[in-house]
Symmetry: C2
Subunit: 267 residues, 2 copies
């Protein structure tokens, strides 16, 4: 039997977005094996109900747990916002993408005024605001859903006139709130960073959870004594619930390392 630290990290997302998190984790702990599951047959989660998202998250986690993972990462902000409590049932360390983003924002803000953008279900859950209030009861939070950002990114329309106009319209209510920090509360949004930044201005720092999540993953593995010690090369395996072709094509927008082998899993 393998040593427990030889087990892979399990990461799931509703589709390809979580690959930005894979990217950051692979850069931080390059020797770790990773098993990724993208629920492409039911994507997107962002406008669905908490109950449905929770059911999907548990099914995704079940699949990963069967792959003998040592750590579960919820690389989808919507699933993190809606299902993190239900996911605690697994007897396993879990890292979500909300808490690391909140921690980074709380560290960075100087005026205590923080904005959050995300999917409809993430914003509606109020998960970011509740988590921010744990750091500082007096923090001022303002949050807005940007439902067109995901389809824009998936159409590879991240810069230029159309994305700028859409972003201007969504972000207008944030401008007047004098925030100095904006949490990009969806794995797709970092790909629109330039456009968002142009509208918010240089004085507003954009917080992308991926690198902070990778740091959290490293710390968690360390604290459980689960960091892989071997320096033989690591494997990244990809599983999806729909046809792998589009995942592989789209994935290259989100991940620098090539996606070589993707398997389909049917329920």
């Amino acid at each position: 039997l393998n040593a427990p630290e030889e087990s892979p990290i399990g990461i799931f997302d509703s589709g390809v977005g979580g690959l930005t998190v894979v990217q950051a984790i692979h850069a931080r702990v390059p020797h770790e094996h990773i098993v990724y599951f993208g629920d492409t047959a039911r994507v997107p989660y962002g406008s669905k109900s908490k109950e449905t998202i929770t059911r999907y998250a548990l099914e995704n986690a079940d699949f990963l747990v069967k792959q003998n993972i040592k750590l579960l990462i919820v690389a989808c902000n919507t699933a993190s916002a809606c299902a993190i409590e239900a996911l605690q049932k697994y007897n396993m360390p879990i890292v979500d993408v909300i808490k690391p983003g909140v921690r980074a924002a709380a560290k960075q803000t100087r005026n205590g005024r923080i904005g959050i953008i995300g999917t409809r279900s993430t914003i509606h859950s109020n998960a970011y605001v509740e988590e921010l209030k744990k750091y500082d009861r007096n923090v001022f939070c303002t949050s807005i859903s940007c439902p067109l950002f995901v389809p824009l990114v998936e159409e590879n329309m991240t810069e230029g006139l159309i994305p700028s106009l859409v972003a201007s319209q969504y972000l207008a209510p944030l401008i007047s709130k004098h925030i100095d920090t904006l949490i990009l509360g969806c794995t797709h949004y970092p790909l629109m960073r330039k456009t968002i930044s142009k509208i918010m201005g240089d004085q507003v720092r954009l917080v992308d959870s991926a690198s902070e999540t990778a740091l959290e993953v490293e710390k968690t593995l360390e604290s459980y004594g689960l960091l892989r010690r071997s320096i033989t090369s690591s494997r990244i395996s990809f599983y999806v619930s729909d046809d792998p072709i589009r995942f592989t094509q789209m994935g290259s927008i989100f991940l620098d390392v090539p996606i070589e082998h993707v398997e389909i899993v049917c329920d």
Copy 2:
């Protein structure tokens, strides 16, 4: 036991879009009972694979068949394009939304040059082109997917600068093809009719399948002797696979009659 003509018509769609078809059918045959199923837990279908869409379509049809329907209507262009053959297994008349749209376009064109717009999976299936070629082998077809149209409609952004710019970008390749007829091959697109028409120009006729589908429904019921004769008021029942709240809110954009009662169905 009720007479067979007292049974409802069953209609399914991936979400709310099919309500434009319900609207047209209810206007055409107002005495018919209708059972509608919107697969809101797995919406959208438009970028998913033929295999996954077929599996979902069969599950949706199974649910409706259990409601003792007399006629099955596939009110989703993507499901019609990808799953119509698999759906023939039911021992029941079936109406899809592709054939009526094709028939209307074939009747209307004068120069034999027809454009088709739809979701990625609808266009990729080539179902429209194959069906058009059955009418006239020499018809010239050109088709384009417009993946941002559905999210724009669902954000209620159907007119104004942003939808116009998006439509201009998608439709540009159609302009040079000198088509005189454009099939709106997705139930959401009729809501963008004004914007699409402004770009294509008055000389291009836009074909919306809903009213032609309603006509087909009436003819089919007639030919099977299944038209409801009673003039007591008819019922429309709505079922969805995710939380009914958003369906009810969004539904009002697509349907003029109020959506009074929606039930959730879990698999």
